[in-house]
């Protein structure tokens, strides 16, 4: 039992240390090298998309000679963790804060603290329900998913059954992409029925089994829209496993190697790509302007594009895609 006690003590000590370390961040305010310091808090870091955003932010940091840190919670449902990260970032007294809020309301108290401390806040990827951010650099996901709906209607000939897999039902991007697609179908294409909308959590394996069940349940399915990379890979796997290549029009979102291969092979009709590098770059650029007191545009639309077999390697599209 003695060993047990020692282990308990050691574990508690480690926990206390990590807590203390988390509460008193390095005295980095103002930057060790005298450059302005900008804290960038994203929605995650594991997904390729966020890695692309990060590279854009880093490029801007180099171009404008500022120092940045880039961090985000492990999954896009960890709102509480993000609140802590923002709190810790504010304690470092950055010159500006760039934030991709996981929840449009939960972070408002932290934003008010930032405002009180005169730290300009720039939103990216998705906005918050508040006037505090001086600017937001984001894709218009509603319009982008609407374009996916238009393409779907065109490719299935204006009528028939389609299904949708979304990554989740609570995040802003999930809601916007789902509603953007569904509303456009409802408004413009009365002969198209959306037979099912399901959520795969962005998990490739779960999305695969999900998409398979939907295809089984609706043998006349003509089209399938996947609202993020994990969702669309699931749809592609399902179509392949059920040997329905070419019989179902598959439309995706974002990029990634598997999706790009499928588009080149003609299994996927095409996809919507955002400009992740541009999102990262423009939010840091806006932060720099805000620090200098220059005027910043309130809504920075970072744009979206449709790509398919014909333009996937074109100079306009290629830089937006990541493997």
């Amino acid at each position: 039992m003695k060993l047990h006690k020692i282990v308990t003590v050691v574990v508690s000590l480690i926990l206390v240390f990590t807590l203390v370390a988390g509460c008193t961040p390095g005295q980095k305010s103002g930057g060790s090298s005298g450059k302005p310091y900008i804290a960038v808090i994203s929605k995650g870091f594991q997904h390729q998309f966020w890695q692309a955003v990060k590279s854009g932010a880093e490029k801007a940091a180099k171009d404008f000679n500022v120092e940045i840190t880039f961090e985000g919670p492990e999954s896009e449902s960890m709102v509480d963790k993000q609140v802590e990260m923002v709190q810790a970032a504010l304690d470092k007294k950055p010159a500006a804060l760039c934030l991709a809020a996981l929840d449009s309301k939960a972070l408002i108290p932290q934003l008010e603290k930032a405002k009180a401390a005169n730290i300009p806040v720039i939103g990216f990827d998705s906005g918050v329900d508040s006037d505090i951010p001086v600017a937001t650099a984001a894709t218009n996901n509603i319009a982008a998913a609407g374009l996916a709906a238009d393409k779907m209607a065109e490719l299935i000939g204006g009528s028939g059954e389609v299904a949708v897999i979304v990554h989740d039902q609570t995040s802003r991007t999930g809601i916007d992409r789902r509603d953007g697609f569904l509303n456009r179908i409802k408004e413009k294409y009365p002969n198209i029925t959306v037979v099912d909308v399901q959520y795969g959590g962005g998990d490739h394996l779960k999305s695969t089994d999900l998409a398979k069940a939907i295809i089984q349940a609706h043998p006349n399915l003509k089209g399938f829209f996947g609202a993020n990379e994990g969702s669309i890979i699931g749809v592609l796997n399902a179509v392949k496993e059920l040997k329905k290549e070419g019989q179902i029009v598959v439309i995706g979102y974002d990029s990634g190697k598997q999706q790009m291969d499928a588009i080149r092979a003609g299994i996927e009709a095409g996809a919507i790509t955002q400009d992740p590098i541009g999102i990262g770059y423009k939010c840091v650029e806006a932060a720099v302007k805000a620090i200098k007191g220059e005027k910043v545009e309130k809504n920075i639309d970072t744009g979206f594009h449709w790509y398919d077999k014909t333009n996937i390697d074109s100079p306009e599209i290629k830089p937006l895609l990541y493997e």
Binding site: Q46, L205, G256
Partner: protein
């Protein structure tokens, strides 16, 4: 492995577990009947194959964790250990260009090593299984991200690898009967797991540790060594699950895995494995895994909203554990 005669445990296992196993099996049949009546698209060959393949990963994880649960332990790390194993397979095959069989071996070994570490933490360092494997959950998750460089690893250069899961040995013999290999692997492993549990010393000690660890120790069983072996075996199953998953997705996805452990534990529990240890069968676990995947598949076919699917799965798990408690009270 040494085979030994099993005398009294068999009889008691049959009596106590039989009820729950029959319940779970009856539940599975009821699910099939209800879904078949509710939708003409449920009971088709391709959808049933869909259910079988959807069970493969969870089923293999559940087989491994069943051993641990029978010892009255728990392994929360199997989901992310599976991911780490998939990533290591990717490292061997794609990064280092080694033969596929070596990559598969690397995946299984990675799983076994994580299990070994769990076993050492639990039996030598006396950490509670819950904490030790929770630590391993995070270690494996972090390592998977670090090693992969936060990027999926693809197996596009080795088309053979995908065949491990999605090829069909049966389909090649009997045309049109394309049951994917992953399903065969699941059934093969289930038989193997059952043999180990019922016909070997390791299996006998698994039950002994779960029924009364102190008694086992007093009768001269090297508890620490056997416990370590059991966690290692569980890790090896997680490693195999990792290979199956990577082969099916033709890629190792470093950010997947967490949450899979709970589905696997649920499968074991639905199948009659008791969380207080000492009881459980591999047949029950496989049935439990099929109950979960049939339920998910059927509810999806009926287009039940996802939120409700989750609620229903939760209710089933609670009911299964309750059935277990009632049975225990009676005996």
């Amino acid at each position: 492995m040494e085979t030994t005669q099993i005398t009294s445990p068999k009889a008691s296992i049959f009596q106590s577990d039989a009820l729950q196993r029959i319940l779970a099996f009856a539940g599975l049949i009821v699910l099939f009947i209800v879904f078949s009546l509710a939708s003409p698209n449920f009971l088709t060959l391709s959808n049933v194959i869909g259910i079988l393949i959807a069970t493969a990963v969870n089923g293999v994880l559940a087989l491994g964790v069943t051993y641990v649960i029978i010892t009255a332990g728990i392994d929360l790390s199997i989901g992310t250990v599976m991911t780490l194993s998939a990533v290591m397979t990717g490292v061997f095959i794609t990064f280092w260009d080694l033969p596929v069989w070596l990559g598969v071996l690397a995946g299984v070994t990675t799983g076994a090593l994580c299990g070994l570490a769990n076993g050492v933490m639990i039996s030598r360092m006396k950490l509670p299984p819950f904490i030790a494997t929770l630590g391993m959950l995070n270690i494996a998750k972090g390592l998977a991200l670090v090693i992969s460089g936060l990027k999926p690893i693809y197996f596009n250069d080795d088309p053979v690898f995908n065949q491990i899961s999605m090829g069909s040995v049966i389909g090649a013999v009997i045309p049109g009967f394309d049951i994917p290999n992953a399903v065969l692997i699941l059934f093969g492993l289930a038989i193997l797991a059952s043999l180990i549990l019922n016909k070997t010393v390791l299996g006998r000690y698994t039950f002994a540790l779960g029924s009364n660890e102190e008694a086992a120790r007093l009768s001269g069983v090297n508890v620490a060594a056997w416990k370590t072996a059991i966690y290692t075996l569980c890790g090896a199953f997680a490693g195999i699950a990792g290979v199956i998953m990577a082969a099916r997705l033709n890629s190792a996805q470093p950010s997947l895995g967490q949450g899979y452990e709970l589905d696997a534990i649920a499968a074991a529990v639905i199948g009659g494995t008791s969380l207080s240890g000492g009881e459980g069968t591999m047949l029950g676990t496989i049935i439990g895994a099929f109950v979960i995947s049939t339920l998910t598949n059927g509810l999806r076919i009926l287009s039940v909203p996802q939120e409700w699917q989750t609620v229903v799965t939760g209710v089933i798990v609670v009911l299964a554990v309750y059935a277990d408690i009632i049975r225990r009270r009676k005996s």
